[in-house]
Amino acid sequence: MVLVPTAYAPSSNNKTSSWRTTRPVIDYSKCTRCMICWKFCPDVAIGVTFGEKLDYPNERFSKLEAPFINYDYCKGCGICASECPFDAIDMVQESEM
Amino acid sequence: MIILVIYLSIFSISCLGNRMYEIRFHGRGGQGAVTASKILATAAFKEGKWVTSFPFYGTERRGAPVAAFTRIDNNKVELRTQIYNPDSVILLDKSLMNIINVTDGLKENGLILINSKKNDVLSHPELKKFKVAVVDATSIAVRNKLGDPAHPIVNTAILGAYAKVSGIVKLESIIDATKELSPSKINENINAVKEAYEEVEVI
């Protein structure tokens, strides 16, 4: 049998959170659920939540699915914060958390 | 019957001898020179010979001069060079005589078969060194509705004529190969082969 560069471990085992020096934090009271952050995240580290009790800017947004950040994989690049049209994402120093 | 077979096999050996036979086709894009070289190869192959056939590839378009080649041998054909000194030249379009040197490298006393009416080629002094044969393949093709009158496809007719004047390959083999390789109008093509076989003249 030949040697093959494969590993019986999915890349989801490879948690990249330790790469992060700043973390994005969503302020749900400003978030309109437009999902632009979810679209732009280069590491698919932003997911979608269903039916969670989250804050919202006003009643109209209360029934919509909301983005959430998976901190196991987020590398802290800040693209989501940069792209958010409502300034609803803050980049916070990890040391302050 | 057996005597006839023996006679035919002696005849074909005496024609080919122990050497390779090389044929060059000149035509214009769309006249079927490349297919003609393949039909001739297939016909000879059916008689037990070894063959190759290949086009000279340039930038192809309808109407541009094209050349194609066939090699026929009793042994497997090893040579993969271009053909420089053909034994025969087959000219599908006589107007090419004014553009290129169609007899370039043709062996002395080699055969040149021209798609033409007889009188049209008598004025060409450079043909004197060769055995010249003519057949009006264009009229035959038009008569058999091969291609359209402006662009008749003359390749099958000229091969019928070649079978007669060269003695390299039998009429039946050309007919068999034509059946195999004609994309359409099989009967018309076979008629053209037969008519040209009858009409060709050595001058």
Binding site: P5, A7 | T42, G48, W50
Partner: protein, 391 residues
């Protein structure tokens, strides 16, 4: 006279390759057309459309994507095939390394064509010579029969569980790809039995997720993987000899194997060649033998892995030889010459010339081979360009 009881057909090299993929049971084809390879892809697409070939064919927008998509299908455990030429090969260079490093036994037919500028569509080995170090095996055929047979042999060799490497199967542009000549069509059932079922040991399985080719640090088995590739590739020489023997018995054929010695037994001088010009060279060898000159020809069919021990055995006892390179590379000598000379280093001491011939489809004529033999018989060495020079 040839045997008449066989299934002969007059076909071009391109047609022979297309038919061979059908016979070998290829199930997935993805390719991008480029002259002179186009006819292979057209023929396969036609056979698939007419349901004469049970395979999936997809068009892609580039050669890079073609190689990427056959990589995907092969990983899923499906026997896959692609074909290209010239600049297409260069464009897939990155993926060629990936496919080899992932140990995927894909076959690719290459119709050898020169590399521009200037644009030139004719025969020359420069395209595949630039890819000789990508981890692909390389087979250079001499006839349309070999174009068909190397595909069949190739799948059996590539998919062997101790080899698992991709193979490029070469034929020369126009001199084979567009030349019609008799080819014996191998029996489909026998071919299927000969090639066998394809079973990739590490194929994608959704129930057992795996990482493929992910990051490996310097102390990970990176170097060991490369060592294993080289070991597998070089075990391919003997495996190829075994498979050739089995092929010849199964199909009553005379496929030569990794190298072919022609009139080499008592030869004093010989040429070493690749590809279709070997056929013309044989014709010249025969003629020179008739004139009493003891010459021979050694044809390299399997260029990667380079069958160095076989080459040494053939060259032993010669008074001189020449190596014909049909590619423009910029080492101190042509690539085939350097492979031969480094193989015999310290073992044989024979004067050897390097001939560069036939670039960009320039005809390598009978007189050119006669000149090469004359020059090695006069003891010339160094790099000599044949039938070239500003006129």
């Amino acid at each position: 006279m040839r045997a008449i009881n066989k299934n002969w057909s007059i076909m071009t090299g391109n047609e022979a390759v297309a038919l061979a993929t059908k016979l070998a049971g290829v199930k997935f084809v993805s390719a991008y057309p480029i002259t002179p390879q186009t006819a292979i892809v057209e023929k396969i697409a036609e056979m698939v459309a007419n349901e004469k070939m049970d395979a999936k064919f997809i068009e892609v927008e580039s050669e890079h994507s073609a190689m990427a998509s056959v990589m995907g299908s092969e990983l899923a455990g499906v026997r896959s095939f692609t074909a290209s030429s010239s600049h297409g090969i260069l464009y897939m260079h990155e993926m060629l390394n990936w496919v080899a490093g992932m140990r995927l036994p894909i076959l690719m037919a290459v119709v050898n064509r020169s590399i521009g500028p200037p644009w030139n569509i004719w025969a020359d080995h420069s395209d595949t010579m630039t890819q000789r170090d990508t981890g692909w095996m390389q087979l250079y055929g001499e006839s349309n029969q070999e174009a068909m047979d190397t595909i069949i042999l190739g799948y059996k060799l590539a998919e062997n569980k101790d080899i698992l490497l991709p193979i490029m199967v070469m034929q020369d542009a126009f001199t084979l790809s567009h030349t019609s000549e008799p080819v014996e069509i191998r029996d489909e059932e026998k071919v299927r039995e000969f090639v066998g079922e394809f079973n990739l040991p590490f194929k994608i399985d959704i129930n057992k997720p795996m990482g493929y080719g992910s990051l490996m640090p310097p102390d990970g088995p990176f170097m060991e993987l490369k060592m294993d590739m080289k070991k597998s590739m070089y075990s391919g020489v003997n495996k190829f000899i075994e498979i050739t023997k089995e092929f010849n018995e199964t199909f009553d054929a005379n496929f030569p194997g990794p190298v072919e010695g022609f009139m080499m037994d008592d030869a004093d001088y010989a040429l070493i060649t690749l590809g279709s010009i070997s056929s013309t060279a044989k014709h010249v060898v025969r003629n020179l033998r008739n004139q009493g000159k003891k010459v021979g020809l050694l044809r390299i069919l399997l260029y990667r892995p380079f069958p160095k021990d076989l080459v040494i055995n053939y060259l032993r006892g010669l008074k001189g030889f020449g190596v014909v390179d049909r590619s423009s590379t910029y080492g101190p000598f042509g690539s085939l010459y350097m492979d031969v000379i480094s193989s015999i280093y310290g073992k044989l001491d024979i004067p050897a010339a390097n001939f560069i011939a036939g670039l960009g489809g320039r005809d390598v004529r009978v007189v050119d081979f006669e000149e090469m033999f004359m020059r090695i018989m006069e003891g010339e060495d160094g790099e000599i360009w044949i039938n070239a020079g500003v006129k």
